[in-house]
């Protein structure tokens, strides 16, 4: 971690950057908060560990409007989002100095709590750059352990790659964390009967409280004004009033980012109700890959996005069920 702080200090000192976008310790062992640092003095609060899972790319939209460059620490997956935002002219590449940080998987307290561990006092083992295999957790109700893998975010189990697609310099090694198939969950649902599919999504979506966290955290959802915030729009906007509202919001949310979603998994990470929102986005990604050829949003800044492109031989909408 000291390496990151030292680089940040050096870049601030020589005037390359005007501020640093990184992380500050939270109230507990597991909740670091994205933070801006403007002086070397401020950097004493800088932290970086396995709990720093949030995608900082979205904060770069605001940072791009500020005077001077911002140093930002991006994980490999964050760099895809950054690239996609650059492509959409939402961030200014010239305003960013990107340090690509190696990643060995990120953990989330959500998974620790799901394992029944509560009253957490301290957590040892989530250090950067080398997390332990097992997290040792002191709680009010005795000492507990959980393997790092079990506490890892869903996205890390299906990591799309440990190479940064955009960076000015790189620090730290990465390690492969993949132990699941990216589309396995989607395929499982596809294989269900219509009744089962409907029941599955009905149960998941009925939990939605329309807090908009999935939308607001999403680097692809960067419209200045969202259609769901319009007062002229005939929907409940803020309330999941009927089963229709919840479906419409989630279909449209995912559709609007189809072909632009890098599958960074932030939507699922932030959902207070634990709805697996990535299943919507990943379904679109899978379909795009199957129908129009493999495409990874954010990978190549020049590539034509699948929904702004076509071929004369595209399949007909009625054919989707007969995929090979």
């Amino acid at each position: 971690m000291q390496e990151l702080v030292n680089r940040a200090k050096a870049l601030l000192a020589d005037g390359t950057v005007a501020r640093v976008l990184g992380w500050k310790a939270g109230e507990f062992a597991y909740d670091p908060e994205p933070a801006f640092f403007e002086t070397e003095e401020d950097l004493k609060d800088f932290v970086y560990d396995g709990f720093c899972g949030a995608n900082l790319s979205k904060y770069m939209i605001e940072a791009s409007k500020l005077e001077g460059k911002t140093l930002v620490f991006l994980k490999p997956c964050d760099s895809y989002s950054f690239n996609q935002l650059t492509k959409e002219h939402r961030v200014d590449r010239e305003k960013a100095y990107i340090i690509g940080v190696g990643c060995k998987g990120k953990v989330d307290v959500k998974h620790i709590k799901e394992a029944g561990i509560k009253g957490i006092e301290s957590i040892v083992g989530a250090d950067y750059p080398n997390p332990a295999e097992t997290l040792e957790i002191k709680t009010l109700y005795g000492d507990k352990t959980i393997s790092y893998k079990d506490a890892m975010l869903e996205r890390c189990h299906v990591c799309k790659g440990k190479d940064h697609v955009v960076f000015d310099e790189q620090i730290g090694e990465s390690a492969d964390t993949v132990d699941a198939e990216r589309f396995a969950e989607v395929e499982k649902i596809e294989a269900m009967s219509p009744e089962e599919k409907f029941a599955f999504f009905r149960a998941e979506l009925s939990k939605c409280i329309r807090c908009n966290a999935c939308r607001n955290v999403c680097p692809a959802c960067s419209c200045r004004k969202c259609v769901f915030d319009s007062t002229k729009f005939d929907s409940a906007q803020k309330a999941n009033t009927t089963s229709f509202e919840e479906k419409m919001f989630h279909i449209i949310r995912a559709f609007h980012v189809a072909g632009r979603c890098t599958d960074c998994g932030e939507c699922s990470r932030v959902c207070p109700q634990g709805i697996p929102l990535h299943l919507f986005n990943r379904k679109f990604i899978k379909d795009i890959n199957t129908f129009y050829g493999d495409y990874q949003a954010g990978e190549d800044i020049e590539a034509q996005a699948p929904l702004t492109d076509f071929t004369f031989e595209d399949r007909e909408p009625g054919q989707f069920a007969e995929r090979g």
């Binding site: 109230e27 994205p34 966290a213 607001n216 005939d234 409940a236 803020k238 309330a239 207070p272």
Partner: protein, 343 residues
């Protein structure tokens, strides 16, 4: 003091549900929230905090107020939504949520009284549960909540395999009388020990002694223009998670929905984090996220005490500490001002 074996709780729920509607924590797709009891619901009374607080039962996230319709002769009819007129029971509310109801009472039961809320309050019996294992995110002690003995119509304690049951109000006594067949008499000893145990844990929680010196009634001028807000709000994503999981957030919006055949006027929770919060014809009072962020905490810790004899509209449930996507929360805000004062 009464008791029932934990394994007989399902019988108890069925018995309550026979006479009246019953709301209790139910697990759906992995998350526990308050929901109506049904025979096949996955009841989960062990989870400490439901995702949404119990306020949803008395002040639903969205509810119809009235419906306007035009019939075939083009006559317009207006039908107000019926008020709650049947008794119902809420089982398993925690001390913080029960205190949250006190906060909401101040808002909705003072003139002009909110008839929808008042009807639900009048017909609802609250069975609260003591928190056997408080978590690190709990700081209810700061707001005078005793999670070992919540304020409610009935309080329950779970000790081992036994659930103890004690009624505190007339409504509570009435419910107890109805369930007399299932409840047997018990002595106080086990409950007294449990209370002592819980209070000892509460003492060990990291934020049980959070100081609120800097906040409270009359602090508006001191805090409003503080530069600390500018530092604090930055990671805020402007989602409404904190407000929607909060047991005391009470702001709502009133909207019309066009059904194609008429109009339904409904209200739904609003969030001060949203850009259209308190939007008026001339635009919006709060134009930046910093102002919206400040509003939330100033409301809870300064404006509300100003108008309600010093009562804070935070109950220390810690839901925002657990759910905020950017790890922001009220404890951070309080601490920032506490520490900022020393600079």
């Amino acid at each position: 003091m009464k008791k029932i074996a934990k394994s007989d709780l399902s019988k108890l729920f069925a018995a309550i549900a026979e006479g009246s509607e019953l709301y209790l924590p139910v697990k759906v797709a992995g998350q526990t929230n308050f929901a109506p009891y049904t025979a096949d619901a996955e009841v989960d009374v062990d989870t400490l905090k439901t995702v949404k607080s119990a306020k949803d039962i008395f002040f639903p996230q969205s509810e119809n107020l009235y419906t306007c319709k035009t019939d075939e002769e083009k006559n317009i009819s207006i039908t107000p939504e019926a008020l709650q007129n049947e008794n119902f029971v809420v089982y398993g509310m925690r001390g913080c949520d029960a205190k949250g109801m006190e906060v909401l009472d101040k808002v909705f039961l003072s003139e002009p009284v909110d008839s929808f809320y008042a009807a639900r309050r009048a017909h609802g019996t609250v069975v609260a549960a003591a928190c056997g294992e408080p978590e690190e995110t709990c700081f209810c002690k700061v707001f005078g909540v005793d999670c070992a003995e919540p304020v409610a119509d009935v309080v329950t304690w779970t000790v081992g395999d036994t659930v103890y049951w004690n009624a505190y109000t007339e409504k509570g006594e009435a419910l107890t009388a109805k369930l007399a067949d299932l409840l047997s008499d018990a002595d106080e000893k086990a409950v007294e020990d449990e209370k002592a145990k819980i209070r000892a844990i509460v003492e060990k929680l990291p934020y049980s002694d959070l100081s609120l010196d800097k906040f409270g009634a009359g602090k508006t001028m001191e805090l409003f223009d503080s530069p600390i807000w500018e530092e604090l709000y930055k990671p805020c994503l402007a989602c409404g998670t904190c407000t929607f999981v909060c047991p005391t957030c009470q702001c709502y919006d009133i909207k019309d929905y066009n059904t194609g055949k008429g109009v339904q006027r409904f209200r739904c929770w609003d969030s001060c984090m949203y850009s259209d919060f308190t939007m008026m014809a001339h635009g919006n009072n709060r134009t930046s996220q910093m102002q919206r962020f400040r509003q939330r905490f100033m409301h809870k810790l300064v404006y509300f005490p100003d108008n309600n004899d010093g009562m804070y509209s935070c109950v220390g449930c810690g839901r925002c500490l657990e759910r905020c996507p950017a790890s922001l929360n009220i404890v951070k805000v309080v601490k920032a001002f506490q520490e900022g004062a020393g600079k």
